[in-house]
Symmetry: C2
Subunit: 227 residues, 2 copies
């Protein structure tokens, strides 16, 4: 290991450490730049009530970057996710679509990872310190796609897209069973899920980014009432 | 920033840096420990020809950790992924299932992330250095689930699970169209995909972990011939 040079950078000191391990090659300059964080070069296209959109919005709020962030709330009903601004940098025509200066990052989880790596301080970091601890978070991030597929896609979207008169009790029964099996995986490992939900939703970051149309009142139907 | 102490740790030096930025809180000790890498405390349950299994196997091989790694090749036909050893630490009964000492990591991408963070050196790191560069890799890791859903699940598994006499030409036509649309997203951004494939498959890590039953000869049917 070799400390090659130490120099002043404003009020901060840049320490460049060179050795053969992985993390030392991360550019420390990038960390220091984040001490003066700005969100004015960012842009987020998002939709109200979309989980994929909400995720990076919460992370932005946790980093103190949500307030004043240039953004556009698009209308799902008018299919504004297919507008030319979005399609130009996200050919799948999806939200969230995110820019930080010239850098485009799409896919909600990738945006969260990027924000965590680029804009964290010791006070607002969301991932734990060690590779061992982080591995469990990564495991749950990827495992959570099962909830999306087996609860949201399978059940909630069935109610959402199927008229009452077209719904089939047998189909619903099967979908409810699939969703319950999925949720049981989480409840077994995390018996205090309800408390976790209450703790998380009380956070200022979650409150500040709460889907605006949910504030206007309950939706016509609780699609997950069967659970 | 404050260098609090420097002390010798075997032939390596441990430099503990304390300041307010994120990365500094990563335990440098963990990096140094990896200089003497061992795989004897690891265990991988895997299946031949499974993409989720192959991913961490390639990463292990890239880190020089595949050779001699305690592992079990399970049989999909005999549903050995539901064996008690696996179910005890992976209630979904899936492969890959991975252990590193007492630490369990499941979900293929999470295993890859863990191995990259824990066992990388400057020579074998797979992720790029800066948050900006890594953000694109993360984007593509999460985006790649579309290939799994729209090409593999939709098309390959239809052929795999549907007897020839039960196949429907209209259904196939629709599934092929979906798969082609998906692949076009990748070909537009990465026109040299074929060259990339050839470069990747030539790597020793890929050759060393090639699904053994694929070496025995071609499978009965090319499920992606329509593409």
């Amino acid at each position: 290991m070799r400390v090659s040079y130490i120099r002043s950078l404003g009020t901060f000191t840049l320490l460049k450490v060179q050795h053969n391990s992985y993390r030392s090659t991360i550019n420390l300059k990038a960390q220091i730049r984040t001490q003066a964080m700005s969100n004015q070069q960012m842009f987020l296209w998002w939709g109200s009530g979309s989980c994929p959109c909400w995720k990076p919005m919460i992370v932005l709020a946790e980093k103190g970057l949500w307030k004043g962030l240039p953004n556009k709330l698009i209308s799902f009903d008018e299919e504004e996710y297919r507008c030319s601004d979005i399609l130009a940098i996200n050919p799948r025509g999806q939200v969230p679509t995110f820019k930080d200066g010239e850098l485009v990052v799409n896919e909600s989880n990738a945006i969260c990872m990027y924000l965590e790596e680029k804009y964290s301080t010791a006070e607002n970091r969301l991932l734990p310190e060690t590779p061992e601890q982080r591995s469990t978070v990564y495991w749950k991030i990827f495992e959570a796609s099962n909830v999306e597929i087996k609860v949201l896609d399978a059940l909630a979207y069935y109610f959402y897209y199927t008229k009452k008169e077209d719904r089939n009790d047998e189909v619903i029964k099967e979908k409810v069973a699939t969703a319950k099996t999925e949720l049981s995986h989480w409840e077994k490992d995390y018996p205090a899920l309800r408390k976790y939900y209450d703790t998380i939703t009380a956070r200022p970051s979650v409150q500040a980014t709460w889907p605006p149309h949910w504030r206007e009142g309950p939706t016509a139907e609780n699609h997950l009432a069967a659970l």
